[in-house]
Amino acid sequence: MRTIHGIGASDGIALGPAYKYLPEMVVCPRREVSDTAEEERRLDRAVRQVETALAVLKAELEREVGHQDAAIFEAHQLFLSDPAFIGRARNLVLEQKINAEAAIEEVMAELQRTFEAMQDEYFRERAMDVMDVGRRLLRELMGLPHPSLQHLPRPCIVVARELTPSDTARMDRKQVLGFVTARGGKTAHAAILARSLGIPAVVGAGEEALDIGQDTPLILDGVSGMVLADPDPDVAADFEERRLRLQQERHRALAGAHSPAVSRDGRQVEVVANIGGLEEARNVLDHGGEGVGLLRTEFLFLDRTTAPSEDEQTEAYKAIAEVLGRRPLIIRTLDIGGDKPLAYLTMPTEDNPFLGQRGIRLCLAEPEMFKVQLRAILRAALGHNIKVMFPMVATAEEIRAARRLLDEARHELSARNAAFGDPEIGIMVEIPAAALAADTLAPLVDFFSLGTNDLTQYTLAADRTNSLVQELADALHPAVLRLIAETIRRGHEAGIWVGVCGELAGDPVAAPILLGLDLDEFSMAPTSIPAVKEVIRKWSYDDARRLAEEVLKLDSAGKVRERVAAQS
C-alpha cells in the first residue's frame, strides 16, 4: 500500500482501478535510416493524414459552434505546411539521416523553447497548439490511436498530469469514478467541473502520482486529498463502507433539497447556484437551487477570435433565464485579465495579472466592448428576473463609472427603440479595500456578493493557483471571516442584501458561521446545495450567531474548523 497526498478538490470517495491518461507522452525511438527518401515519404503521408483529420475536426466544430470559432483550427492546418516546422523536420531527416519521428520531436523541442522564451501567455498557448499538431503527427507515424477520455472500457479512476477543458468536456461520465491530477489547484477548470458533476477528485498530487501503474487498485478521498495505491483489504473495506454511507447521506440530502433552507428557529436563507453556462443551469433546479447567484459570462468570450455580438449575448442570457423561470439570475459582467488573454483584445503583458487590469478595470478600459454586454443584459432583463453584477470593484469611482456606462447603454437602446428591463445592480466584494470601505459603496448599489476565492487570496497574499501556498489560501481564516462579517453588517446598515458566491458558500463547515453572520444569500456549485441546506436546517440562528462571534476571535482556519466540528 502506498499513500500519495494531494489537494482534495471535490468531495466523495472512489474505489477502482487506475486509468492512466497521458496524452502528452509519446515515446518514440530515434534511429538512423539509410533510405532517407522513404523516410520523407513517411513524413509526407503522415502530414496528409493529419491534414485530413484536422479538416474533419474543423468541419465538426463549424457545425457545432459556427465558422468563427472553428477558425482556430486554421492555424493548426497551417503548421502542417510551415517551412519552420515540417520543412525543418524534412531537412533534419535528410541531413542527419534520422527517422521522421525523431526529426519531428527535435523540431517540437526547438519550437517549444522559442515560444516559452517569449514569456507571453498567448505564445505559450500557441506552443500547446504546435505540440498538439506535433503529437498528432508522431502518433500517425507510429500507428498509435489519438487518446481521449471519451470511451473508457470500464469504471475507473483517471490518473493524469493535468486535464484540459477539452479532456473533461468529452470525458465518459458514466465510467469515470473520480480523478487524480499531478498538477493544478482547487480552482483549476477540471476541479470545478468535478464538483459540478459530483465526481470525487484530488489535484496537485505531484509527479509521484504518475508512478501509479495502469489498473492499480486505488482509493481516492476527495475530502482529505489522499490517494491510496494497492490498498490493504481491510483498509479498502473500511473506505467502501464510508463510500456507501456518504452516498446514502447524499441521497437523503437530495431528497430534502427542494424544500427551503430554514434554520430550527425559523430563519430562512436563499440558496442559489454558481454556473458557467446553459448546461449547468439545468443542473441548478435538479439540486434544489432557488436561482443563480453567479453566472460567469466568460464562456461567451473565451476560445474565439472575435467578441460575441449583442444579439448572441442577449439570446444566451435569455436562454438561461428561461430555464430558471421566475427565479433570480445574477449575471456577472466579463471577469478576465492578463492571465486569460482574448484574441480580439490587445492586453499588455503584465508581471502580475492578478493585481493588474482585470474584471471591471478591463471593462472600463474597453467601454465599447463593455457596453455591448450591458445592452445585452438590459435587453435580456425584460420580462426576466435578471440582476447585473460588476467584478473586482475596489473603489466607489469604479461603480460610478460602470453605472454611467449602463446609463449610456440604456440611452443607446432607447435611441433605436429597443425594449429593455431594469435589473438590480450589485458588485462583487472580493478586494479587501471594498470590504473595509463597504459602508461607502453600499449606497451606490442594490446588493453585495462576496467573492471569497479572490478575497482570500488578496487578504492572505497567497496565489490560489499555486499549490505551494494553497494551504495558506484558506477562506476560513478568521481574517477573511472578519472582512465578510464587516461587509454583511455594513450592507445591512445601508439596507441592501448580501450574499457569498465564492467556494466558501458551498462548504458545510462554513454554513453555520455564515448563517450566524446574518448572510442573506448562499451561492455555490449546484451539487453542494443539498448538503448546505441540510446543515442550515440543523442549526438555530441563535446558536449560529454565538458560534460566529467565537470563531472570529480564533487565530487560525484549523481552529475554526475544530470549533465548528465540536458543535456539529
Binding site: 510551415d82 517551412p83 519552420a84 522559442t114 517569449m118 484574441a343
Partner: protein, 95 residues
C-alpha cells in the same frame, strides 16, 4: 525586389485569424516574401511560415515591412497590401 510599409489595424494584430490569412495569401505566390515588425525593430522573417509570423509579435497599430522578390513580386505585394488595408476582410475594428 518590391517593398512596402503597412500598419496592422486589426484588434488582434498579426495573430490568430489575420496571421493565418496573411500566411495563406503569401503562400499563393512564387516569390520569396518576408515580413518584419518595425515596432520591435526585428529582422525580416519568412511570410509563408505561420510560426515565424506569430513569433514576430505584431500587435494592433504596429507597422510592418513586407518585401517580395521573384517573378510575381508586384502581384504579391499588391495582394498583401489589399489584405492588410481591408483589415483582413473585416469591417473597421469594432472590438
Amino acid at each position: 525586389m518590391e517593398k512596402i510599409r503597412l500598419i496592422v489595424n486589426h484588434p488582434v494584430g498579426l495573430h490568430a485569424r489575420p496571421a493565418a490569412q496573411f500566411v495563406k495569401m503569401a503562400s499563393q505566390y512564387q516569390s520569396n516574401i518576408t515580413v518584419a515588425n518595425l515596432a520591435s525593430g526585428g529582422s525580416p522573417t519568412n511570410a509563408k511560415s505561420i510560426l515565424s509570423v506569430l513569433t514576430l509579435g505584431v500587435n494592433k497599430g504596429s507597422a510592418i515591412e513586407v518585401a517580395a522578390e521573384g517573378p510575381d513580386e508586384a502581384q504579391a505585394i499588391a495582394a498583401l497590401k489589399a489584405l492588410v488595408e481591408s483589415n483582413f476582410g473585416e469591417a473597421a475594428s469594432q472590438a
